[in-house]
Amino acid sequence: MLDPLSWGARLASALVYPRTLDDFVGLVAPLRSRRAHHAEVVLVRRETYDTVTLVLRPGPHFPAHRAGQHTALTLEIDGVRRTRVFSIASAEPRAGERHRTIELTIRARPSGLVTPRLTGRDARALREGDIVELGAPRGDFVLGTPVPDRLLLVSGGSGITPVMAMLRTLVARRHRGEVVFLTWAKSPRDTLFRAELDAIAKAAPLTCPGLRIAVVHGPMSEGDLAARVPDLASWEVFACGPSGMLDVVRADLRKHGDLTKLHTEQFSAPTRPPAPEGEGGEVTFARSGKTAEGRGPILPMAEGAGLRPKHGCRIGICHTCVCRKVSGTTRDTATGALSTDGDVDIRICTSEPVGPVVVDL
């Protein structure tokens, strides 16, 4: 069989070897790259004093997301690529349609490396026209089909983003069922999408007659859900917020509702400050399922646990022992530099754990 297109592609790949076609495509038209999804930043909009909305236009191969899913955003900060996961806040496209843009609304985590550089008055990490990398949308925190008759969307803080995507989707579809949207925020000035929520609520009688929206300020406490939603057990609940809040939701549903109808998404991993000097830690070797505990470089720890990782010099110069750190903090024994990101390569012969660490070995 002679498929000219695939023959053309094979010839082109052979001509550019050992580069790939993508190495060239990526230079001139990054959005068309096949190696990874990219998106152009079309708008950077300040949402509140510590949040920002990025409107992104992904390339043609980017799969449509479902409301409630998240994506991994990779951008370069001070020359280092950093990846963080954010919920997509914009409505999902109609079946068979492709979206032109997606939106991420991001709140600064004060101890973070990435988010403070995106938000605030003088954020300079991203500007309109920049290209970022995006992971394919993932997650099963999504509305089923058909959408349940009685839908309760609960959120706290920046946990509002995935349920906002659901709300926006339902409004765009002029959904006819009953929907209650409850969101908790610290204060009015911390409330995300305030104007839009008002507008949606005002138009609801015409667009989604069964929709009710309430913004509550202050912390959520037990009994709040039952007080606001009658007959709690008859609602399918989607909740996203900090872990303390999700505990309250669970407690309420246990008492007054139906826990099997609860879907949750926890929006941010708790941040852990680096442990004090030379503390050591527990290393989990994800692939082999083994663990080791101690101080000093990870390579001997792995060997002590019966693993045989690739290595060469054992003094940090050859990069043979490089492997993927899934999560946790490590310290470079030569320079003392800390590595706090997940999903990065480290040299295990000169990296020691600082607290719990997971490596792909």
Binding site: R35, I315, C318, H319, T320, V322
Partner: protein, 365 residues
Amino acid sequence: MTHTTLSPSELESFGAEIDALLTRTKADLGERDTRYIRRVVRVQRGLEAAGRALLFASGFSPLFPVVWALGTGALAASKILENMEIGHNVLHGQYDFTNDPTLSSQTYEWDIVCPSEQWRHSHNVLHHTYTNVRGVDHDLGYRMLRVDPSQPWTPLALLQPLSTLVLGLLFQWGVAAHDIDMPKYLFRPSERTEEQREKVRELFAKAKKQLRKDYVLFPLLAGPFALHVLAGNLVANVVRNVWSFLVIFCGHFPEGTETFPPEALDGETRGGFYLRQLRGSANFEGSWLLHVASGHLSHQIEHHMFPDVPAHRYPEMAREVRAICGKYGVAYNSSSLSSQVWSVAKKIVRLAFPSAGGDATPTAA
């Protein structure tokens, strides 16, 4: 007066000063380095595309020799940049800090017949860890040349002025054969290991693709001008070979570079490691362009002290290394490119003959 040994306490503080420079530089790595390497990558891709296009066009052009020479030059320059400033340095992990998969030491494949994986073993592990240690660092003469008086003389050495020239022309093949220990593989088939066989298979697979694009596909695409393209590609490859050969030979073989007995490794401290790298390496001086074209291996001393620091930082680090060496009174071997080339050439010719005082010059210490 300079000397090459330091007392243990001097050695320790010498090591600490070099370590401090390393720590300071690593802490400063960031946007400047990422921007630099991306720019080099863009220039290299541009040169490659331009070179290939000009070679195609040369057949149609009335100015054939000029266009052909320009195309060949651009292609040679692109191959040199790719091998030296991008490939070699990326494979050292100099840009691993960026987390960019296209600049990762673990996955980058460079444009030369030697598979990256094999190179990382013979070069990063053996050569950089055991630099100039006799019997362990096979870069000392590449298993075929006598580059140190302590290596035993055999009549074969008489041929080495000639074989060095041949090695220079075919340098990428020498590099490719290196990790496999090709002479042994060829002449002692009974001792072949499965690992060696696997490496030979990988090498063949890669060599096939390299040869196919430069000597079959690109020429065929040029139709009636196939020979122009083929000749341009061949010359570009040879130019790259000779240039990288010169750079590498000037790094460890000029007069004044030392070799070490295996015992040198016993209980070697960090300071000792740095000092051995210093004593076994040599720099050459020149313009900015020369440094870039050499992948900054013009700063072989700094490269051996800091193999995974982005190489474009070496010139600024060299000023400090030099000052530290001055302070401790240890020699810092640096000279112009031409004088280092001359120095290597003389040594290769001289060592082609048995050493004057027998071969009793520094063997084991």
